[in-house]
Amino acid sequence: MSAYEPSSHGEQRIPASSHSEAALGQRERAKTGHFRLKIFVPIFYILFLLIPIYWLISLSFKPNQEIVSGLTLWPQNFTLDNYRVIFNDPSWYETYYNSMLYVVMNMVISVAVALPAAYAFSRYRFLGDKHLFFWLLTNRMAPPAVFVLPFFQLYSAFGLIDTHFAVALAHCLFNVPLAVWILEGFMSGVPKEIDETAYIDGYSFPRFFGKIFMPLIASGIGVAAFFCFMFSWVELLIARTLTVTDAKPIAAAMTRTSSATGLDYGVLTAAGVLTIIPGAIVIWFVRNHIAKGFALGRV
């Protein structure tokens, strides 16, 4: 995947593929003269993505009066009051902590159980392996709406309602199959000779797995963890159903902003901005693996 990683040696280490791409571009430019326009496609696309986000951020810095009284392109009366409301109210900022907690719990559980399963799928054939793999995937296809009511009853029966653990466990429904799928893709890229050599060298399975194999698929583990984070962080329907107050996610707390006097747009948008930040930080960490990760390690 070095083709798009920023090269530390600058121009000296141009990835081979860029040569002919450039050559192709030159030919094309000579023929049509449209080559320069190509760069505008991603620019326009990114603008299209960022404008609604900019609008959210800009509203969060405006007092409510300015928001409802007329359209201003940027905050005229810049204020941090909306954020102050959130950070001074435990029932707001605790929801932030709740979301983080169950997302991390889910990430750990999903990756931990998916690792051995993915190893089995990538290395061995066994009775019913293909059916099992597809059956796992079907859980990724299950509409959360189908599971809302049964989940509520199941977790009530176990007395788990309104705990972080309940949400973390429920999100395993779609994250475990995904983690298995991603990790299997990455593991299949590791030659089997490595396993065999390690066994000949006298490594026991746990030692081999921890000392040799896991470092080899470290980026795959990172990508799988990223995806578990992502889908657990964005899901709300199940998270909201299983929580009341103690484990309520921040995204669900946003409904509080509507009151008898109308929506409190300032606080609503400020809370929205705060939900974007963790995702942005996490993407930055996995930016060099993100493209391959989205291809589930199978390009």
């Binding site: 466990l169 429904l173 964005v234 946003m254 747009y265």
Partner: protein, 295 residues
């Protein structure tokens, strides 16, 4: 890769099985249980056979929601897949801008779904939203709260905004994996830009594009939160997709029997269509490997 036959591998799969059994099989059995019974409250249940299934399958409400959802998935796929490929093709291949592009493009994917809904609900409002304000000042009568067509446009644009990046990232991953030799060969043959796309880039992206189509189909067919926040399924029931309808029935009206029957039918439809995609996908993958092996 040659795999060895070893049934002990089942032990590795066991933790996943236990976990998924708890979080999927037990709840699903509850649904099956409800779908064949009727209740008048007080936890008293009566055998209802296939009544609920017949009721759902013949109800126009279900047909309408199904039709709406299929339309939505088709429109969204028809826009997002070509757009995603175009953006991926025109992205830079090296340098810092690649990281910047990837990070910015992935941003919408990591926003909680109800916040996505909130962003667009505000953004498209004619009084306080930039988009709605601009459109209505251009003289177009736009109101997604009252006009079904406007509501559809808003929901579709929102989904394109939200998910096209997934297709871009997948297509891009496919593109950067194409070896240099292919482009050189094309150059020697004097292939046109279109020929390069048609005979080199598209086939090489085939597999990841199928993953993209599979994921986009599944998720657009299960869409709930985003349109619910923006339109609440309205105006009327013009944007009531299957999941919205289902939650309305199960939680809003507490019609457990019909809701459970609908859940199963809904799940089966997704399963069937996804199985078709998955079979195509694994066959394409097998083809690719068998072609590659003689080299």
């Amino acid at each position: 890769m040659e795999k060895t036959w070893n049934n002990k591998a089942w032990f590795f799969v066991l933790p996943v099985l236990v976990l998924v059994a708890f979080s999927a099989v037990i709840p699903l059995m509850t649904v099956v249980n409800y779908s064949v019974q009727d209740t008048f409250g007080n936890n008293q249940f009566f055998w209802a056979g296939t009544d609920w299934f017949t009721q759902i399958l013949t109800s126009s409400r279900f047909h309408d929601a199904l039709w709406r959802n299929l339309m939505f998935s088709a429109i969204v796929l028809a826009i997002e897949v070509p757009l995603g490929i175009i953006v991926a093709l025109s992205m830079p291949k090296k340098g810092v801008w690649v990281s910047v592009c990837l990070v910015l493009m992935a941003l919408p994917l990591l926003i909680p779904w109800n916040v996505v809904g909130t962003i667009w609900q505000i953004f498209a409002r004619t009084d306080i939203g930039l988009l709605g304000y601009t459109v209505s000042n251009l003289g177009i009568n736009y109101n997604y709260g009252q006009n079904p067509f406007d509501a559809w446009v808003t929901v579709v644009v929102m989904d394109v905004w939200h998910w096209t990046s997934l297709v871009v990232l997948l297509a891009y991953a496919g593109l950067v994996s194409i070896p240099d030799a292919y482009y050189q060969a094309a150059k020697i043959d004097g292939a046109s830009r279109w020929a390069v796309f048609r005979y080199i880039q598209l086939p090489k992206m085939g597999r990841v594009l199928l993953i993209a189509i599979l994921l986009r189909f599944m998720d657009s067919f299960m869409i709930y939160t985003e349109p619910f926040v923006v339109t609440g399924g309205g105006p009327g029931s013009s944007t009531t997709f299957l999941s919205i309808d289902l939650v309305k029935m199960a939680v809003g009206q507490f019609d457990l029997g019909p809701a459970a029957a609908m859940s199963l039918i809904y799940f089966l439809i997704i399963l069937l269509l996804s199985w078709v995609f998955y079979t195509i996908m694994t066959n394409v993958g097998a083809d690719a490997t068998s072609k590659r092996s003689p080299q």
